[in-house]
């Protein structure tokens, strides 16, 4: 039995009555009087190590075809943007966004200690800490630290949301928990339909057993997650439905972006959304695999942008796509590519100064043990987003000063004392 959760849910800030208000009545003001509607960063993790060279293709570099006899995309199929680069042919819709200046690539992104390990690199990108080796207790993610420093995480149980069935290290914070949601429909407590009369007694007891704090560290963490989850149930019920005529692919990724648009439109206090899509570890049979993967990404993001525009919120949302490393430039004998170093990121949204690429061009004659060289530290990308999209000082989040890459329209001015440090 699905709960109607009025009797169940917490007195907290979010309370119960959200769904009774017309959405326009509380736009922007539920999460703190006078605050602007929140900016929402959607992080897209291309898990496995995306091959940047075959995503934003340096098709006129003569080494491209030499190093990739079977994997080079034929020139006639490449969606050219200038005399150096072109999109992979499956990314037609993203090229449209590029042409309308809402998308940009950032070339040669990585970090100095990139070591071709999925696991370490993934952790480094998510924690923004490259001293970081093994999973350590208490380590936080870069967006988790952003939330700790700049957001009132108690104001919403959906401050940061991972879509899917796994949480993300990148959202891990000290001062709050991120929500993990795979579908809104199933996000509810079920009670025993054999005994409908017991429904209320069961729910209030469940709430009670999650109220008493625990002495065990892990038990307490689970208890808190439970309390947050109960609070998120009502909040999720208040988000608007999918738009009827949307063009999302029916893939898991398409559905994730559709849910991200609902969350963004729902004004439920969400500031960051994490979406992970996997399959990028293309050691063999790369041509087919990569074509499907990039088509899914391109079509999902393009549908997302249309959805945001239709809802009138495209100015508040941007997408940042990353992968733990790029791939080896020279193909292997399995028609695939092995783990590499620097890679290609991309950003999409109204805030992006798009239709171009940032960082130097890609030089396939000047490689680092067969891999692209890191030219831009990935934390510069984060710093640019924190500064110009969120309008906050990135230094305390990243624990260091990183160059602003200028790929976003400049955000609001920082308080003077902070600006003087830049």
């Amino acid at each position: 039995m699905a709960t109607t959760r009025r009797d169940f849910l917490k007195k907290g800030t979010m309370g119960v009555s959200v769904s009774f208000l017309a959405p326009q009545l509380f736009t922007g003001n539920v999460f703190g009087a006078g605050s602007l509607p929140g900016k929402i960063l959607v992080v897209l993790q291309l898990d496995g190590g995306n091959d940047g060279v075959n995503t934003f293709i340096p098709y006129t570099d003569r080494r491209y075809r030499e190093l990739r006899p079977t994997l080079a995309i034929p020139e006639a199929q490449i969606l050219e943007v200038d005399d150096r680069f072109g999109f992979h042919p499956s990314m037609e819709r993203l090229r449209g966004l590029y042409n309308s200046r809402k998308m940009a690539f950032i070339n040669n992104v990585g970090f100095n200690t990139l070591d071709r390990s999925h696991f370490r690199c993934r952790d480094v990108w998510q924690t923004a800490d490259d001293s970081y080796g093994q999973v350590q207790r208490g380590i936080t993610g870069w967006l988790g630290r952003y939330a700790d420093l700049y957001l009132d995480q108690a104001a919403s149980s959906l401050t940061t949301v991972a879509i899917g069935n796994r949480n993300s290290l990148g959202l891990s914070a000290e001062g709050g928990l991120s929500a993990t949601v795979s579908s809104v429909e199933s996000f509810d407590v079920q009670t025993n339909t054999q005994f409908p009369a017991d429904h209320n007694a069961f729910l209030s007891s469940l709430e009670l057993v999650y109220e008493e704090s625990r002495t065990g560290e892990r038990e307490e963490a689970i208890r808190k997650q439970g309390g947050d989850t109960f609070a998120a149930i009502d909040l999720l019920k208040s988000i608007p439905p999918p738009l009827p005529l949307s063009s999302y692919p029916t893939s898991r990724l398409g559905r994730a972006f559709q849910l991200a648009a609902q969350l963004a439109a729902g004004n439920v206090g969400t500031h960051a959304i994490w979406i992970t899509t996997s399959g990028y570890d293309t050691h063999s049979n790369q041509l087919n695999l990569h074509t499907k993967l990039l088509a899914d990404v391109s079509n999902s993001i393009a549908a997302f942008q249309e959805d945001l525009s239709a809802r009138g919120i495209s100015d508040r949302v941007m997408v940042l796509a990353w992968s733990e490393f790029g791939r080896r430039v020279e193909e292997n004998a399995s028609e695939g590519t092995d783990h590499g170093k620097a890679g290609t990121m991309f950003v999409v949204g109204d805030a992006v100064k798009g239709g171009t690429f940032y960082g130097d061009t890609v030089d396939l004659s000047n490689l680092d043990d067969g891999d692209l060289r890191t030219e831009i530290d990935f934390r510069s990308v984060y710093a640019t987003v924190i500064r110009d999209f969120y309008g906050k000082d990135p230094e305390p989040v990243l624990k260091g000063s990183y160059a602003n890459l200028g790929f976003l329209e400049t955000g609001p001015a920082l308080p003077r004392r902070v600006r003087t440090r830049r």
């Binding site: 069935n165 928990l177 929500a179 989850t229």
Partner: protein, 435 residues
Amino acid sequence: MTTIPWNEENAAHLLRRGGFGGTAQQIADAVEDGLDVTVGKLINYESVSLSGLELRLERQNLDIRTFDGLARWWLTRMIHSPRPLEERMTLFWHDHFATGASKVEDAGLMLRQNQLLRSRALGNFIDLTIEISKDPAMLIWLDNHTSRKEHANENYGRELLELFTLGQGFYSELDVYSAAKAFTGWTFNWIPLEFRFIPEWHDDSQKDFLGRIGNWNGDDIVRIACSEFAHGRMIASKLFAYLAYENPDNEVIDPLARIYLDSGTSIRALVGAILKSPEMYSQRALWSKVKSPIDHAVIAFRQLLLDNDNLIWSLPGALAVEGQTLFDPPDVAGWDGGLVWINSGSLLTRMNVSNGFSRIVNPARHLAGRSVTTPNQLVDLFLEILGPVRVPGKVRDALIRYVSPDGSLPSGNDLLAKQRGVVHLILSLPEWQMY
């Protein structure tokens, strides 16, 4: 050697970690048998007959050509096998040599790998790893089946060193290249389905691997890697963390690593030593681990004496939402484990799965021979059956008030509602997510 107090708490702990939880009767028997006999029964399981289990699997008539069917087949084994450690260790190796259906795309190959893991679950690690290196599902999963000397595919060589044998920091990029070269030409045939070595694909050159130079083949690479102390430490600490507690100190691990290496990488020797070590029964170990979704479901099934194949039918879907799809771990590193299991969606699903379990609990099976006349006794009975699990006093009070606000036990249908409801509540508790 420190004496290990042998009591209900430690016996129940051993049966949770070395299996999937004991029933009240099994825990009582283990207390009676003593530690050595109980561990002996767990690890020397070959003599225990599986005929009952095989009959049940036949009766279920599962379609093991599908991944859901295969998951139901394995879940049935975990729930009903009289060799719980065999299934526990098979699951451990599935997590260690994590191979995923998403890429292998063939349930028959995954079944074959699962049977390999089961047949060598407590065998010799080097043998197991050489076999896994020849296993068709693994050859597809890490792309080695297409690896040729012209440009070796590095995927298997890298993960073999990083995840399967040594761990980060104990090999160089040169070692990765050398390992990759040594495995060139290791592929398989579909008909008949078997490992195949293609000499023309194999790189016959001298290879420098971990400082040793020779014309190494894949099995040499496994043997050399597994002779390193770092390997002993890695396997000992991973198994110790699985069975006893996480983040153990080197003083605890090093003697175990030596036992394991001195035995010629015998997994049985290592598991036996861990299960009989005082650390296994220390406060650091008891109730210190977060149940995986499978632990949550299988332990509930066993301790609640559930015998319902239809419920097993629905489990794979729920386990997927909880983050654990059998035969399809998230990547080659397996499942992260620990608190990563717990997020809002997964915790909610654990609660809802618990509702499904509680709906078919037959209280008479647990009440037989016991006198339960008050709400307190009812709550304590289920806390004992499902653990025994310790909860804060106020939580116990809340459970008692749920059963009856006025101290008298309800009757008839109302009593059944509360009996099942209290089980649903206990399985939803933060404490019960631990084991």
